[in-house]
Amino acid sequence: MRIALIGQPNCGKSTLFNQVAGYKAETGNFPGTTVTYTESKVRVMGEVVVVVDLPGTYSLAGTNPAEREVIKYLTSNDVDVVINVLDASHLSYGLTMTVELLELNIPMVIALNMMDEADRTGIRINVERLEGMLGTPIVPMIASKGRGIQPLFIKAYQIGQQKRLPSQPKYSYDLERYLEILRHDLEHVNSHLKPRALAIKLLEGDKEILQDVAKQEPKVLSTLKTLHDSLKHERGQTPEWVINGERSGLADNLAKAVIQQGKRHITFRDKLDDILLHPFFGYIFLILILYIFFELVYSFGGLLETPLMGLFTQVETWLLSFFDNATGFFPQITVALIQGVSGGVAIVLPYLVPFLIGLGILEDVGYLPRVAFLMDAFMHKIGLHGKSIVPFILGFGCNVPAIMSTRILEDKRERFISAALSTMVPCAARLSVVFGLVAFYLGPVVALAIYLFNMFVIALTARILSRIVPDESPGLILEMPVYRIPTGRTVFNKAWWRIREFIVEAWPLLIVGSVLLAILNYINVAQYMNALVRPLSWILGLPNEVGVPLIFGILRKELSLVMLGQALGSMEFGDVLTPVQMITYAVFVVFYIPCLATMVVIRKELGGKMMWQIVGMTTLIATLAGLLARGVAEMVF
């Protein structure tokens, strides 16, 4: 048996799924975090059933690809029963989609989730009455606390077994008459939708379904045209609006009939937005919250990095003592292996773990959409939307989750620009280059200047890109979720989910890259690589030897610092590089080609073409920015 979960964004659907499936779906207090569907096997009443978590959608209109996929999936023969998750605290909105689901005429159970939230807002729901009016079983529950989950799945299992179909929503007399006429023409049409549902979708103007139907039954076209025109004439609205109006009207009436609005308890959470979104203090809090977040990440990471690195150095020395000649092939490979391992354990993980936990908290609390609200005006000034700020914030930790988070943007253009720009945000790895080289030798003020210069270049690039690819989307429409206190379990599970991704996908790459470098060094191909980069290093006034560290920096950004020492023959950078060279090098490293892990994610999320566009663009920007930095630095030093 196959059970599909469906509901609007933020109704707690993924939370419910994770409760039954263990941690498999990413949850977040940000509308539309789940973009793909996840399946899991669960045991219900002694039988193994497959539970599918479908992406949250606000309707089943088929206006975007995700909604279309959801309808197709639901009406395919594979799904035995649908669980429609509703947010009890916002019943009338959720019911609009429930009405749409009823139209599809498939076995269905309603999970009335967030009963505690409804209680808090003083809403009392007459569940039995709603059950009677909808003709569908309803199970009240609180997914986040695990309450009501077992009865829900038992009910779903029974309904699936009985193949019990829900009763159909009744619309106004005239609309029903139109649907009946259209249905007559559709009797022999082969579709995954049932005739009545098909008639509704056709009248609503679904082009893809119409094409399919017209091929089988050409006379539908003329019937539809007549019905469309006369309905429009009678109601003074397009049929699409008529149907939507009927649905929301029905949902409103249902909600009115079963909801008893008691006294709303105004709590601290309701007042929170007055402070956090205040026109002045809101920004103070924004800066404060982000500052505390990064301060915690860096201090926690720094606390672990030094002793861990020390440990690995000891292991390295100890292992090398077994070899007679430390410059031989095997000792070099050993060193490379240890460096690959230590890069993951000592440099990446100490920052990644607290970063992901902190971010998970900010996400689950519901603060990130508020950041989008506060920053929308500023982002518009550089041609972007408020939502694009989220990938930028994430980018300071690691560009990989930043690219993933561009999923929250609907528009392809917005996604490309945000992804391209967030690869230029100096991540934790590049931070080590700026701090280890520039701050250490030239002072923190110069490092700060590089960060400010970086923001300036990003803003400038955003302006230019938004001119080249003009904006088509109308502007921000974003739901602000209710503030929630995150549970430790979901935050840790989510962090672990992403840490595992690093350990399995990126880390092996670091180790292999590190070993590969040792081999290349051993067989002396470094000089050819330097020659390859020479045109670039020459115009930037950098020594010939930076070629290898720059090429390997693409594998892992920390390598461009670690290997610079190897390449120049000294870790005392002050002796081998001039201040101007240090600044130019750091600026170039901050901007040039994203690391391999980031490129892989860009390819996965946005496609290979965009990946190469971003590679080309960042190389160009890095060169120009490097030249500018060189010029300015030569005037100062």
Binding site: H90, Y93, T96, P279, A372, F373, L374, P474, G475, I477
Partner: protein, 74 residues
Amino acid sequence: MLLLDAPKNRLVRIIRYRGGKGVGSKLRQLGLCPGREVKILRYAPLGGPVMVDAEGRSVAIGRGIASRVDVEVV
């Protein structure tokens, strides 16, 4: 009256949308359908979005969109 010009913290009823189909369907999905009552909660400074309360649900709407929604005071 436009939603953008609606007085703060006063219930207004949505009459219709002007402009693109995309805007209409997105607003509708978030429950801001014609006929429903909403309330402006706050404005983000410097031409930022407005925050609207729609039966207990908060929705941020860019000013460009808020100026394409006709409302009447209830």
